[in-house]
Amino acid sequence: MIEVRDVYHDYEGKGAYAVQGVSFTIPDGAIFGFLGPSGAGKSTVQGIMTGLLRLQKGSVRYDGSDIGSMGRSFFQRIGVSFEHPNLYGKLTGYENLKYFAGLFQGPTEDPMQLLDMVGLADAAKRRASAYSKGMKQRLVFARALINKPSILFLDEPTSGLDPATAERIKALILEKRDAGCTVFLTTHNMLDADRLCDTVAFLNSGRIVAMDSPRELKLAYGSRSVKVETRVDGRIETHTLFPAREEDRNQLSQLISSGTAETVHSQEATLEEIFIKLTGRGLG
């Protein structure tokens, strides 16, 4: 279990906090989504949680142990995928993975198998500098898995990927979760978060403004209505109906049975709409 309590971080030491009072808990084997626009403080929190940034105030505990007391053994347990691909351009994809595997003690994944999993087996012997952005992103993702981590930190893992490859990566993330891996996912892609996360936290200006499962958030902030479009005498008419009310339920049945209903949409709010509702700003 990961427990983050009341974390603050001030880069310049002048009282301008990049994150303030951030607290959350991630149970083992869960995917926790950290959502927010650029500059919201997502990477700062991830930096603190991975030990790349010094913890200034608050606490970060892994299975009850404070991050400050864990030493280098902590890095044996985690895998980190960065938003901006940071690879040795002069090494091949295979060499990049092989080299990082050599930094860990204990068993590691087979680099070729990992490359195959992310669809880079054919490019294994090409230098990373010759990879496209999407290929680099996949290689960084594969590198994060090289030490069979029990905790994965993924920063925009599907950024720059084509839809098919993004699906492949998302399926791998879910596989890891199902195998017991805890995943901390930083993203501003609400669809990914909705699909993957057990819990999401909205971060805005360094503070968490909402945190729950995607379903609960949508229920809490959505309007629970149904939009029906009908065509009568060639004209399109829109009806917004609330299933909680009996007369609306009856009208919905009537529209569907009469065959005039052309489209029916639930009016469930998207995570993006909820974010805008809560913060007054978009995620772009």
Partner: protein
């Protein structure tokens, strides 16, 4: 150990693919050319032309008796004038009159050093006294210090310089290039999120650059041996390894204070130039102020000179070796702190 070896392997591959190995090989070939094709001696003093128009050529005879090179003497006025016109750096001496009343004229261009003119005046004064049969009975003796050592030809005299300063540049500059490349690629950030640690990181770089220096040094020493030197290989390469380790550790620690090579360039160049200052003492041994002697490359340069040019002549290597070791230990502490507290914290 496995971790450090893994990183050293990575750094060797990067050194190869970055072209660093090729650069080292190219410099080594250049040094071979210098060793094989530099002349044994360079004429550093001004040439002299002497016209002896004195009665009975008494000066020429006295000069021959004193062991002077007869080539300096012009055959006649025309020959003398031709020599003077041909070389602007030449010093001319014309002697006329009888042995009892000689008239000597020295001709020198404005840019000829006054010391050269003064030395020539003193030499002529001694020869004229000899021509007049005036000897004061002073006996002059030359004592050869360290008689086991021998005068090395110019091509071999340069070998210690080629070894010490090139190895210094290799370690100091190329390790900085490595660090800036890793910063630029962001791989240091990825490294920090892995259990690599500072010591294996430093050890790997050290292994690569000391290894490259030794390969380079071995090649240069082999060329020197082919040219007639009988170097103490172990002493020369051992000192070179220490010197290279010092510069690599210093360079790695120093590079952590800069973001990129352009920020590093002038301060780095300053340190490299300072490191090369002992060259002036090497070229002009009378110039060896205390501040130059304090530069670590000074000890390395003169130690390697003895190991390459005068092996087994009994010079005391212990004190300079200890000083280089102490400098290297200091550089290791500086580097370890800089890597741990700066490079792996960024």
């Amino acid at each position: 150990m496995k971790n450090a070896l893994n990183q050293a392997l990575r750094d060797w591959i990067l050194a190869w693919r970055n072209g660093h190995v090729a650069v080292v090989l190219a410099i080594m070939v250049l040094m071979w050319l210098l060793i094989f094709f530099l002349p044994a001696e360079l004429e550093l003093s001004n040439p002299v032309a002497i016209l002896d128009a004195s009665h009975g050529a008494s000066v020429r005879r006295a000069a021959a008796e004193a062991g002077m090179d007869g080539q300096m003497f012009a055959q006649d006025q025309a020959d003398y004038d031709a020599r003077m016109a041909a070389d602007p750096n030449i010093l001319g001496v014309s002697v006329r009159g009888t042995p009892d009343a000689l008239s000597v004229t020295i001709e020198a261009g404005a840019h000829v050093p006054p010391a050269s003119v003064a030395a020539l005046r003193a030499s002529m004064d001694a020869i004229i006294r000899l021509a007049r049969g005036q000897t004061d009975g002073t006996e002059m003796e030359t004592v050869v210090l360290r008689p086991g050592s021998r005068r090395a030809p110019l091509s071999l005299t340069g070998v210690p310089v080629f070894l010490v300063f090139e190895a210094g540049i290799l370690g100091f500059l190329l390790v900085a290039v490595f660090v800036f490349q890793e910063k630029q690629e962001g791989t240091l950030r990825a490294y920090r999120a892995a259990p690599g640690g500072g010591a294996p990181y430093v050890a790997a770089k050290l292994a690569v650059f000391v290894g490259l220096s030794l390969a380079y040094g071995g090649g240069v020493l082999a060329a020197a041996a082919l040219k007639g030197a009988r170097p103490d290989w172990f002493g020369a390469l051992g000192t070179l390894a220490l010197s290279s380790a010092f510069m690599t550790l210093l360079g790695l620690g120093f590079a952590t204070f800069f973001r990129n090579l352009s920020g590093w360039f002038f301060p780095g160049l300053g340190i490299l130039l300072l490191n090369m200052a002992p060259f002036f003492s090497y070229a002009r041994p009378s110039f060896n102020p205390a501040w130059i002697k304090a530069i670590p490359s000074y000890d390395a340069l003169f130690l390697i000179r003895d190991y390459v040019l005068n092996p087994g002549t009994g010079s005391d290597a212990a004190a300079p070796l200890l000083r280089i070791l102490a400098w290297t230990a200091l550089a290791a502490v500086f580097c370890a702190l800089a890597v741990r507290l700066r490079l792996l914290k960024e």
